[in-house]
C-alpha cells in the first residue's frame, strides 16, 4: 500500500496548552481571592468590579471554560490527529477555534466584573458573547468531523466518540439555555420564566458538568491512560457500554438540582431515578480507567503522570458516587444550599479535571519539546501538595455543610428554632472557611510549581515543531454496509450517522422533561395575586442580577418546617411566573431572601447594604457602597425593558410603560420619605447635601440613586401571596 507522509499539528496543541496553564493560574487565583473574602469580607471594599458577587462567576467561568476548556482542546487536538492518523482538517479552523476561544475568555473577564451577567450559573455571559461561543463551538465541531472524514484509520476509537458527544450536546445545551431577548448591547432577559427557566437552566447546568467536564475528559482518559501506561484499555467492550449508557442517562438527571423546590414532583422524581442510575456507567468508566493500570502499578510509584491520573480517576469515582447520593431526596434535604455542594464540585474540579490536566501537561510538554521534564521531583512535589490541597479543601467543607444543615434544622422543645439567627451558623463554620482557604492555597502553590517546571522544560527543549508521520491511505470502501459487516462496525466507521445517533440519545431525556413543563400549564399553577414588578422593582431586580446576589442568597423556601419557621411560607411555582430569569440560587452563604419583603424597614436595608456588619454583627457580606454614589440611577432603558417583558408574556399595559418614569419617581420618593424616619439618616443626608454644594457638585436625591431601586425590589420579594388564592389556569 502506498505510504503517505503528513505532519501532525503540534503547534496548535502547544497554544492551547499554554492558554490552559495561564488561565488556570488566573481562574484559581480568583478562586483563592474569593475563599479569602469569606474571611475578610471587606477586602475589596467599595470597588464594585472586585466584589464577591461579580468575581464568583468570573472564577467559575475561568476555571470551567478557560482552564478546562483549553485543556480539552489541547488534548482533543493532540489525540485525535494520532488516533485518526491525519493532520487536523484545516489549520485555519484550528486557529479560529483557538483565537476565538481566547477572545471569548477575555470578553468574559471584562464583562463579568463590570456586572454584565445573565445570572444563570455557568451561563452568565451576555448574549453577544453567547453567539460568539456558539459560532466558535461550531468551528471546533466542523474541524473535528471533517478530520474524522479524512482519517487513515478505519475504526473511530472510543475516545473520539466522547469528543463527538461533547460537541453535539454542548451545542444543544448552550443554544437552548441561552435563548434570551436582548434589551441592549449587553443586557438581555431569558425567554423562560420562573420554574421553566429553572428547569432549562439546570438541565443545562448539570449537563455542562456532564458534557464539558466529564465526557471530553473521559475521552482524554481513554487515550492518555493507555498511552502513558503503555497498555490497552482494560475492556474495550466496557468502554462502549460506558459511552452509550452515560450519554443516554446523564441528560435526564438535571432536576436533582431542584429537589423540594417549586418544580413539579414528577420532574423531580424523574431526575432522582436517573441520577441514581448514573452511578453504574460512571463507576464502570472509573473501573475501566483504573484497571487499565493492571500490571503496571509499580510504575505508579515513580511516575508522576500516572500518579496524577490515578488520583484524577479516583476523584471521578468519588464525585460520581457522591452525585447519586446527593440526588436522593432525603440526603439532598440536608446537603442542598450548604457548603457540602461546594466540596462536591471541587472534588470533581480539582481532582478529576485538574489532575487529569496536570498529568497530560507533564506528559505532553517534554514530548513536544523533545526533551525530558526539567524536574520529576518537582512534579512529584506538585502531586503531593496538590493532593493535600484537595483534602484540606474538601474535608472542612463537608463538616461545614453538615454543621449548617443541622443548625438550620434544630428545634427547641417549644417549637422555635434553636439557631433562629442565620448568623449563628455562619460564625460557627468560620474555622472551616479558614481551612478551605489554606487547602486552596496549597493547590494553587502546586500549580505554580508546574508553571516553573514547564518554563524550565520548554527553555531546555527544542522548539515545538509539527511532527512528520507516515501512514498508508485508507482504502476506499462502500459507504453502505458490506457483506458480513456487522451493523455496529458499519456505524463505527460512519461519523455523520454516529453523530446523529448520539444526538438522538441525548435528545430523548431533554425532550421528555422539558416539553411537558413548558406546554402543560397545570404544571405551574398560577396565583391570582401575583402581579408583575413595578418599573422600579424591575430595575432593582436588574441590580440584584448585576451584583451577583444570587451567588450567596437563594429565593426558594423549601416546604420544610425548619424553613417555613425561619423564612416564612414556602415558595410556590406560581410566584415566579414573571421572573425572567429565575433567581432561586443554589447556595446559602447568607439567608434565603424569598420572603424578605416587608420583613425589615427601608432604613434597615439602607444601613445593611452600606455596611452589613453594622446591622448584622459577624456577617460576612460585603458592603455595596457604590450604589449610594452621588449619581442618578440609569433608567434609560426602562421602557425597552418593559416592552421586552411584554413580548415574553408579562402583562404590562401600554399605559404602564408610558407611566414608567412617573411610577419610578413616586415609588422612589416614598422610599426616600421612609428613610427620613431615621434621624441618623437625616443627619448624614443633610451633611452630604452640604458637602456636594461645597464641592460644587450637583446633588442627586436619594430617590434617584441605585440603592433606592434595590430596596424597592427587596421590599417586594415574596409579598404577593399574602393573599392566598391559587387559581388553576384555564
Amino acid at each position: 500500500m502506498e505510504m503517505q507522509q503528513f505532519y501532525y499539528d503540534n503547534k496548535i496543541v502547544k497554544k492551547f496548552l499554554y492558554a490552559c496553564i495561564i488561565f488556570g493560574v488566573v481562574g484559581m487565583l480568583v478562586g483563592l481571592i474569593l475563599a479569602i473574602m469569606f474571611l475578610f469580607p471587606n477586602l475589596t471594599d467599595g470597588i464594585s468590579f472586585l466584589s464577591f458577587g461579580r468575581l464568583r462567576p468570573l472564577h467559575t467561568n475561568a476555571v470551567i471554560f478557560a482552564f478546562v476548556g483549553n485543556a480539552i482542546f489541547a488534548g482533543v487536538y493532540y489525540s485525535m490527529q494520532r488516533l485518526l492518523k491525519t493532520r487536523m482538517y484545516s489549520d485555519l479552523l484550528s486557529n479560529i477555534n483557538f483565537w476565538g476561544w481566547q477572545l471569548i475568555i477575555v470578553a468574559a473577564a471584562i464583562t463579568l466584573p463590570l456586572g454584565y451577567s445573565t445570572s444563570k450559573e455557568y451561563a452568565e455571559l451576555e448574549w453577544p458573547i453567547d453567539i460568539a461561543i456558539a459560532l466558535i463551538w461550531m468551528v471546533f465541531g466542523i474541524n473535528m468531523i471533517m478530520t474524522i472524514l479524512k482519517r487513515r484509520e478505519r475504526h473511530i476509537y472510543v475516545a473520539i466518540w466522547f469528543y463527538i458527544a461533547t460537541f453535539v450536546t454542548v451545542a444543544i445545551l448552550h443554544i437552548f439555555n441561552s435563548l434570551e431577548l436582548p434589551v441592549s448591547g449587553l443586557k438581555s432577559y431569558s425567554v423562560y420564566a420562573g420554574v421553566q427557566d429553572a428547569l432549562v437552566q439546570w438541565w443545562y447546568g448539570h449537563n455542562a458538568v456532564a458534557f464539558f467536564l466529564t465526557t471530553p475528559f473521559l475521552g482524554l482518559m481513554y487515550y492518555f491512560v493507555p498511552k502513558v501506561a503503555n497498555r490497552p484499555v482494560y475492556s474495550y467492550r466496557l468502554s462502549i457500554i460506558h459511552f452509550w449508557s452515560l450519554i443516554f442517562i446523564y441528560i435526564w438527571a438535571g432536576p436533582h438540582h431542584l429537589l423540594y423546590t417549586a418544580l413539579p414532583d414528577w420532574a423531580q422524581n424523574l431526575g432522582v431515578v436517573f441520577s441514581v442510575m448514573l452511578i453504574a456507567p460512571s463507576w464502570g468508566g472509573m473501573i475501566n480507567g483504573l484497571l487499565t493500570l493492571r500490571g503496571v502499578w509499580d510504575k505508579v510509584r515513580t511516575d508522576a503522570v500516572l500518579k496524577f491520573f490515578v488520583v484524577a480517576i479516583t476523584g471521578y469515582g468519588m464525585a460520581t458516587f457522591e452525585g447519586p447520593m446527593l440526588s436522593l431526596k432525603n440526603v439532598n434535604a440536608i446537603a442542598h444550599f450548604t457548603d457540602w455542594i461546594i466540596a462536591h464540585v471541587h472534588v470533581g474540579a480539582l481532582a478529576w479535571n485538574g489532575f487529569m490536566t496536570f498529568g497530560m501537561i507533564y506528559w505532553l510538554i517534554p514530548r513536544m519539546t523533545k526533551t525530558k521534564l526539567y524536574s520529576e521531583k518537582l512534579a512529584n512535589f506538585h502531586f503531593w501538595i496538590g493532593t493535600l490541597g484537595i483534602i484540606l479543601y474538601a474535608l472542612p467543607l463537608y463538616v461545614a455543610g453538615f454543621t449548617q444543615a443541622s443548625m438550620w434544622k434544630q428545634f427547641n422543645p417549644d417549637g422555635t428554632l434553636v439557631y433562629g439567627n442565620f448568623l449563628e451558623t455562619v460564625t460557627q463554620i468560620m474555622p472551616m472557611y479558614w481551612m478551605r482557604a489554606i487547602g486552596g492555597t496549597l493547590y494553587v502553590a502546586g500549580l505554580l510549581v508546574l508553571v516553573y517546571n514547564v518554563i524550565k522544560t520548554v527553555a531546555a527543549g527544542s522548539k515545538v515543531e509539527d511532527e512528520l508521520a507516515e501512514e498508508p491511505a485508507l482504502a476506499v470502501i462502500s459507504s453502505k454496509r458490506m457483506k458480513g459487516e456487522k451493523w455496529h462496525s458499519w456505524l463505527e466507521r460512519r461519523p455523520i450517522q454516529f453523530t446523529v445517533l448520539s444526538l438522538v440519545a441525548i435528545l430523548i431525556g431533554g425532550i421528555i422533561q422539558i416539553i411537558p413543563t413548558i406546554v402543560v400549564k397545570s404544571n405551574i399553577p398560577t396565583i391570582a395575586s401575583v402581579k408583575p414588578y413595578t418599573p422600579m422593582e424591575l430595575e432593582g431586580r436588574d441590580l440584584y442580577i448585576r451584583e451577583g446576589c444570587v451567588g450567596c442568597h437563594s429565593q426558594m423556601i423549601r416546604p420544610f418546617r425548619s424553613e417555613v419557621e425561619r423564612y416564612g411560607e414556602y415558595s410556590k411555582g406560581g410566584e415566579y411566573v414573571y421572573d425572567h430569569p429565575f433567581l432561586w440560587g443554589s447556595k446559602r452563604t447568607g439567608p434565603d431572601l424569598h420572603r424578605v419583603g416587608a420583613k425589615y424597614n427601608d432604613n434597615w436595608h439602607f444601613n445593611h447594604m452600606w455596611d452589613p456588619q453594622s446591622t448584622s454583627p459577624g456577617s460576612i457580606m460585603p458592603g455595596y457602597k457604590w450604589m449610594y454614589d452621588n449619581k442618578p440611577m440609569d433608567y434609560s432603558l426602562i421602557e425597552k425593558k418593559m416592552e421586552v417583558m411584554v413580548t415574553l408574556g408579562v402583562p404590562y399595559t401600554e399605559e404602564d410603560i408610558k407611566n414608567a418614569r412617573k411610577s419610578i419617581d413616586e415609588q422612589g420618593a416614598l422610599i426616600e420619605k421612609n428613610l427620613h424616619a431615621d434621624p441618623d439618616f437625616v443627619k448624614s443626608y443633610e451633611e452630604s447635601k452640604k458637602n456636594a454644594a461645597t464641592r460644587g457638585e450637583e446633588f442627586v436625591p436619594m430617590k434617584d440613586r441605585e440603592i433606592t431601586a434595590l430596596i424597592a425590589y427587596l421590599q417586594r420579594l415574596g409579598t404577593d401571596i399574602k393573599v392566598k388564592e391559587t387559581v388553576q389556569n384555564k
Binding site: S79, R82, L83, L238, I241, W244, A469, H488, V519, S522
Partner: protein, 49 residues
Amino acid sequence: MDTIVGIEIYPIISLSIFFLFFVLLLVWVFSYSKETINELGDIPLKEDN
C-alpha cells in the same frame, strides 16, 4: 393544554425503550470477536512515537 391524554402508556413506553436500549447495547458489544476487540483497544498504542 391541561393534561396529556393517555399518559398511562408513558411509563410502559419508557420502560420498553430502556430495556431495549440496554439489550441492544449488550448485543452490540458481545458480537465482537475477541481479536477485533483487542485490535480496537490497541489503536492508541499503534503510533510510532
